[in-house]
């Protein structure tokens, strides 16, 4: 019957469109590298992967941001070649025989709304705020306004580092908002006068104000010389010494053009300046 054939035609057309479009772009891959891990490092890994693939056609680097723990687990199990992590290895993870390559430095800034007069906090005050032992800005020299806590999701390396450095492993307040991304934290703090959160220094923009910790304001200089207390190292883990495509890719990430462009662009500090 004429009409029924038209329906089949329509559906077949849809698939054909998808198939042909596919051929024009993705070519067959010779060498494949999988890089999984921290959502914080995801931007760096993806951007450098794109640059590397552009420079070395025929290689395919698949990057996934599933969280530091997942990254460490999958590289130790071999389901991915490089595991990226924005936190140090947990004691039991040290036994997995992973080789650490440090690729960048991340300083975590405590941010408040620009209208909030508070400019500095001690480490203890910051901890007390995020554990909800302090609930009103007036208790730290601000207006009489309830504190709106903004936390990151449990998979976030930034949250993990903040918890270790500032809270010394104690629990975050459980009534805090849990947001899945840096940008959301920044947006919420920008729009809510009483909000407080923490993001990588690189992402601080005019919409928020970074607070000094123990009287040290977070700047490239204070992070580079190690005086700013809340900072962490970003790691690429490999099973044994990196070799082949993995080594080539890691060296590429450590190269100056990538460090200056990609790492800085992602809001982090190039590794070569600080630890040389």
């Amino acid at each position: 019957m004429r009409r029924r054939s038209r329906v089949v035609l329509l559906l077949a057309g849809l698939v054909a469109l998808a198939m042909t479009a596919g051929c024009s772009v993705g070519g067959p891959a010779q060498q494949k590298l999988t890089v999984t891990g921290s959502t914080t490092i995801l931007p760096i890994a993806e951007a450098s992967a794109d640059m590397y693939q552009a420079a070395h056609p025929g290689t395919r680097i698949l990057v996934a941001g599933v969280g530091s723990s997942q990254g460490i687990e999958s590289v130790s199990q071999g389901t991915s070649d490089i595991g990226t992590s924005s936190r140090e290895l947990a004691p039991e993870e040290k036994k997995l025989g992973l080789v650490d390559t440090k690729i960048a430095l991340d300083a975590i800034a405590v941010i408040v709304n620009p209208s909030n007069p508070v400019r500095a906090l001690t480490m203890q005050q910051a901890a007390a705020i995020f554990e909800r032992r302090i609930t009103n800005w007036s208790q730290v020299g601000g207006h009489d306004m309830p504190i709106g806590l903004v936390n990151r999701d449990e998979a976030s390396g930034t949250r993990d580092a903040f918890s270790k450095i500032v809270l010394k492993g104690r629990d975050f307040d459980r009534t805090a908002a849990v947001l899945p991304g840096t940008g959301q934290v920044r947006a919420v703090v920008t729009e809510s006068p009483g909000a407080v959160g923490f993001i990588s220094l690189g992402f601080v923009d005019r919409g928020v104000k970074a607070v000094a910790i123990d009287r040290i304001r977070p700047t490239e200089a204070t992070v580079a010389d190690g005086t700013y207390p809340i900072s962490r190292v970003l790691h690429f883990f490999t099973k044994g010494q990196p070799k082949g495509l993995a080594k080539a890719y890691i060296d590429f990430v450590l190269s100056t053009p990538v460090q200056d462009a990609v790492v800085r662009d992602a809001g982090f500090l190039p590794i070569d300046k600080a630890l040389k």
Binding site: D153, R174, T175, A176, A177, L179, P180, A187, E191
Partner: protein, 317 residues
């Protein structure tokens, strides 16, 4: 060949069976081929129809298999009744999440149901054909908008407004109620409109004939007559609201506690899955599948209750 002349001289039309005008002997038995073909087709269609049953069973089997250990480990009472959800500490009580999901759904209904029924009444009773020609596609389009777009809209426009107007971060039950309320309108409105349209025209005329105003007709005659259909629609809306994930996760704030105000962050059965799934493992992952089982059972309860209500009306299929 003049019209109607007898056909004696006519060549026999070549039909498969021999059919002279006098009719052949006995009634032909069903030929084995057609009987077999019809039976084969009938069973093939039956198999396709049973794919739906297979689907539900498969969901129970696979989701159940993955989620069952948490029930075994904690026991249904502890899992459903436990107040604290703290995976990193091995605490998997989902009572908080259940309560939050119900609160979110209830608020969504309080906002959405009247809006939906009002829109449905408007479409079937009040709107002029020209206006209806515009409004109905709008409702259908509202149904077409992906829930992730609702969530995104809520996150970047609604949340900041609520934060500024009501203080706080903008996350919370109120924000979710607004978005859920709008999302379930199409579901409830289309079904309610069908229910209203299935009310026989005569009933309206009878009511008007007795001098009733349009509103009296709607309130005293039409809505009661379509009562069962509307209840079904609302229950389906509830199912949609409690099952919503993408729109809720962006604006709920995801704090694993029962919020002490409607402007404080909270976590629900659906949002805990989408937040934790990427990194959950071991018992935590099993618990998330356990939550999925609970959600599946809740949605089945809603469907069953619709069936019971419609059967109580004695309405045959």
């Amino acid at each position: 060949m003049s019209a109607g002349s007898p056909r004696e001289g006519q060549a026999q039309a070549p039909a498969p069976q021999d059919r002279g005008p006098a009719g052949n002997g006995g009634l032909s038995r069903i030929s084995r081929a057609t009987h077999l073909k019809e039976a084969l087709l009938r069973n093939a269609f039956l198999v396709c129809a049973c794919v739906a049953v297979a689907g539900v069973t498969l969901i129970f089997v696979f989701v159940g298999y993955q989620g069952w250990p948490i029930f075994a480990k904690l026991g249904i009472g502890e899992f459903l009744g436990g107040r604290v959800w703290y995976p990193t500490k091995g605490l998997f009580g989902i009572l908080t999440l259940v309560v939050n999901s119900l609160l979110a759904m209830a608020g969504g209904l309080v906002l959405g149901a009247p809006l939906a029924v009002g829109t449905a009444v408007f479409l079937s009773e009040v709107a002029s054909p020209r206006v209806r020609e515009v409004t109905r596609p709008a409702v259908e389009l509202l149904a077409g908008i992906p829930s992730v777009v609702y969530g995104f809209f809520g996150l970047v426009l609604l949340r900041p407004i609520i934060a500024r107007v009501f203080g706080g971060l903008g996350f919370g039950l109120f924000t979710v109620w607004v978005i859920l309320g709008v999302m379930i309108v199409p579901t409830i409105a289309t079904l309610t409109e069908d229910a209203l349209r299935s009310v026989p025209e005569g009933i309206r005329e009878a009511s008007y004939a007795m001098g009733a105003t349009k509103w009296q007709t709607i309130w005293r005659v039409l809505l009661p007559a379509a009562r069962i259909g509307i209840i079904d629609a609302v229950i389906l809306g509830m199912g949609r609201a409690i099952g919503e994930t993408m729109a809720v996760v962006m604006i709920a704030g995801n704090a694993p506690v029962i919020p002490d105000s409607i402007f404080k962050p909270f976590l629900t059965l659906t949002t805990v899955i989408v937040m934790d799934m990427p990194y959950a493992s071991g018992d935590h992952r099993t618990a998330l599948f356990g939550v999925a089982i609970v959600l599946f059972v809740i949605s089945m309860i809603f469907v069953a209750s619709i069936r019971v209500i419609s059967r109580s009306r004695g309405e045959g299929d």
